[in-house]
Symmetry: D2
Subunit: 343 residues, 4 copies
């Protein structure tokens, strides 16, 4: 950490800063410059906060040198984290596809889609039983009934189930059904919930908030990690910008940035990201090319009848064609698409 002060700072203000540093068990180092006086700090600087200094008289700026996240950073662990489901892996050279409808709507619907997905070799199925909706009057999911259907789908088709956790109350039920617990964009900074799922060992799919920076996403993952759960998969799903021709702005830049700074797998959700079904395949391929460790795709057998988000869902047939292209593209970026042979 560096404290910047103006060159003509009175000696007593400089001394106040240095005394504050000493009082925090660190050591100050005066570094005079041409236009500013910098005071470097050594010692247990982890404990220091910008706020410790910024209000002191004559202090102009406080510069933090190190990243705020630790456990999830590449500095801490240089090898990729691999999250393994019976040989189906997230991270490393694997490329995984999670697919399914936005919501569980009925047993028939979920079974029919699961059947189509299995035929395409998809191992991971997404479907929401509890849905966060900006309007209280919109369809909120089948709730417990939805989880029940997901249990049956798992038994019948051997799918690995990804479903969203909205709150503490439904955690026991979600823990029973989900193989991967999704924390949605709106809950990315619900720290209490992050700490709670951090106490279990079940893999967490953590989606980036609509206005969250990459650093904040990693800090939210750090909450889960520091609570004990090291099985975290990050997910880029579009951020909010001024552009109105797409639902969100899928930020693929986040993929290479996260791959560089963190060892966690990062997957991409082009369905929410661009939000228009006929443009989902293009963005899916772009995500793979950018180096993503996987995709999470909304697939619906009758998108025009979907109770939610039909407009961004692709059909099982479109998925099949997309998988064909992904299979070809993956090796170019040193990835391998892993599909379920056991159809």
């Amino acid at each position: 950490m560096l404290i910047l002060m103006s060159l003509n700072t009175p000696r007593k203000d400089i001394d106040a800063v240095k005394n504050k540093i000493v009082s925090l068990n660190c050591t100050p180092h005066e570094i005079p410059g041409k236009s500013k006086l910098a005071i470097g700090i050594t010692g247990p600087t982890d404990q220091l906060k910008k706020e410790d200094f910024i209000m002191l008289t004559s202090v102009e700026e406080v510069v933090r040198v190190t990243k705020k996240y630790k456990l999830v950073s590449r500095m801490m662990q240089s090898d990729d984290t691999i999250i393994n489901f019976d040989g189906f892996k997230f991270g490393g050279e694997s490329l995984q596809i999670i697919a399914g409808p936005c919501s569980v709507e009925s047993k028939d619907q979920i079974f029919e889609i699961a059947g189509s997905l299995k035929e395409s070799g998809i191992k991971f199925m997404r479907a929401g039983a509890f849905k966060p909706r900006s309007s209280p009057y919109a369809f909120q999911g089948l709730k417990e009934k939805g989880l029940e259907y997901l249990q049956e789908v798992k038994k019948e088709f051997g799918m690995v189930i990804v479903t969203e956790l909205l709150n503490f109350v439904s955690l026991p039920a979600i823990l029973e059904t989900a193989d991967i617990i999704q924390i949605g964009a709106r809950n990315m900074q619900n720290y209490a919930l992050l700490e709670e799922v951090g106490k279990h060992n079940k893999p967490i799919l953590l989606k980036r908030g609509m206005a969250a920076t990459v650093e904040e996403l990693l800090l939210s993952a750090e909450y889960i990690f520091s609570s004990g759960n090291k099985n975290v998969i990050l997910c880029e799903r579009g951020i909010r910008t001024f552009e109105t021709s797409t639902r969100n702005t899928l930020d693929l830049n986040a993929v290479p940035v996260i791959k560089k700074h963190s060892h966690l797998p990062i997957i991409v959700d082009p369905s929410h990201g661009i939000g228009i079904w006929d443009k989902v395949p293009a963005m899916s391929l772009a995500a793979v090319a950018a180096g993503a460790d996987g995709l999470i795709l909304e697939v619906h057998n009758r998108p025009d009848e979907a109770l939610s988000d039909g407009f961004q869902s692709i059909t099982p047939q479109a998925l099949k064609e997309l998988l064909e292209k992904i299979k070809q593209m993956a090796p170019i970026v040193n990835k391998k698409l892993v599909l379920n042979e056991d159809k």
Copy 2:
């Protein structure tokens, strides 16, 4: 709701849309235009969703005419909602000030600040016992101990207490201490929590999310309303933009927009909004001039020693000077600053 189709749409596609409308118990009306065919809909259109139509063949756009929120809208209730604490009101012609430190740090700190505030005639005190922090390593609040101190402050100084609820688990404790429950920006779309506080009658201070539109803020208020709690105070606290010279971009435009579309009181948090202490007074005055029903201000007796957000806190002395100016300004916008005479 209006469905727009291209002029040369085949008859069967038009009929499919009209049949869908009929199947939803509504009535279609064909309206040919120069470049588009519009189909108007009458009947119980509240039940319709854009998604019902957008995927049908040949449909180009679906335009919703009415607002998605109802109970919180001016259409539903033209008079201002007034939330009353023994004559200290939010809404109508009243202008209220909530002030206090970001966090409860110690009994001494909270008592000293409460004393200063009381002297200035402040009736509403804010202070966090549970703090949401983007890093798990930052100070998270004194938790239960903090609530205890707030209880004592209430007894000693007769303050009305505003404190943040982070999750279900601490709801009972918060209900016991808080007179106004704050739902922070990060929880604005934590719908389960909104519904939960909607079951109680305690006033809620609902802060706008960092990337939430005004419509989404009103829809979140609608969640609380439709769960039964009609005591909601909205709060603008800055949105996230590309600008980096301020912590957030305090969006005062939201004030006249909300005053027009909703009957709920709307207050402003300039401390988080601009995030730089010496610019808080200017933005406070601007908020009053824009028509806000109140302010929530971070005040700390020793900002440079604050455990969180000291950089955006003003001193009790600065508050006193600001109140003087607000008192003069309020009548110009038909407001009256109500301070506690009982000092």
Copy 3:
């Protein structure tokens, strides 16, 4: 400027950085820290660019300590710049109002509005002869004819004319008519145009670009200054964000930020800023309360017939009521509304 390197950087990389510094006629200072090695630089650091160092091996970050703008900064000149038109001033304790229609539409229109404005004591009239429009099919202004009418208005009513310059070609004509040359948001980073108007002595009204930071606005003012013209008035007119309920997000935070860092007058355009006529008065008062040096307002005698931007224009009657409130509010923020007594 500070160069940050990791602690275990090999000596040869450190030496490479130090040699680079020396080659640029500056002096390096090694400052070892706990987790990083910083190299401070003294000497003629103005000439240094981040890019000089960021690519060198082992360099992790380059921190610039001083602001990039100089001539327009408060450090360079602590007193407010005052721009004076026969006693009507921008800057210091004056509060000025510029008003008028978006575009000159006809001689009758411009004369009628000028008459109303004069009656209200308005000295500065805005009206565009050349209009920048996002569509080539929208009304582009009366061009030379419009300037002619503005000349006549000036003669008849003694108004000070503010009109927009779009390009080099029309500069001579604009110079002849305008008393203040407006550079619009879309041209804020048209550096060639900035340098060109910088060669003349005529006051410039420089509007902030839709996605320009405060620093970039000040750097654009620096272009005009460093070309020789010191008569610059800055204008906040709304930035682009995700919010859709207002045309733009008027960023009043920019006012106290700019007042702190620059000596230039800063005025506010609430008409473009919020873009909805019935909310313009609220944002006008907010701008005054935030400390703005003036307002630029769209006023039209028949807003519903305006050829452009009628939706954000207020009537002369609404202006009169607004001026009354501003007159009362100004002294609270140490300002004085200066109107033309010579009606």
Copy 4:
């Protein structure tokens, strides 16, 4: 166009709207709905503006049905526009690479880079002679001298030259040297300049503004088209968002959106888009996968010595490796990378 009014609108207000429509030579159609009255309009609606109606009494909303751009839309021309340079094409199935340094720095530099590019089969060379820089103190390019070197490069290596036009004054010189004239992000809404280049026949590379929507980019292209020049190549180069870990947010979503709505070629600039050299290859591949018609890449033989933007430049060696991957990836998205065999 549709005018929405409330159901209980008095007859005289409805008639006023209908009379206005008739006075504009169009025909009104009343369409009563459940909660609103809509008035549809037929006839020459192209001439109508939202502003014609929005201010009329009782009008609540005006909905425009058709897109504002015409000539550049797919509706007007369903086949891709192809821009051909002796068999090297932009548009259709071709994938083109433009590469080169940010600025011409010296004859040696530009010759050395051109040599490397030619070796890799690159036909299109970018290099700025006039540079737009946010600070007046930053390197502004070699100007005329730079164009001279570009002329020599063209003669020596047979390169097609892409260079930026900043203003009217340098247009003759640019016309003489450039084969493709670049209009930069800051000038995307400099309409006078767009109309000026629209009068010539030389291909234009039009970059998206930092806060421009896709629709605005297409409208700016429409300016060039409607002035007579149909040789326009669009370029996505990153937009401005709240994210700070990348220089800009490269918005690849724009690629499939533009491919759907316009027939113009769209290329991508990952160098400015993400702004960090080691992440440029990942975003380049992502752009190709998203369906882009080409890339424009900053390549510098000694990025650490570049006078501008070295931090986002890749080396000729990195380019070579990238081209190898692009060559493999292109056919998957039905594209063909066209390189110059004549090395």
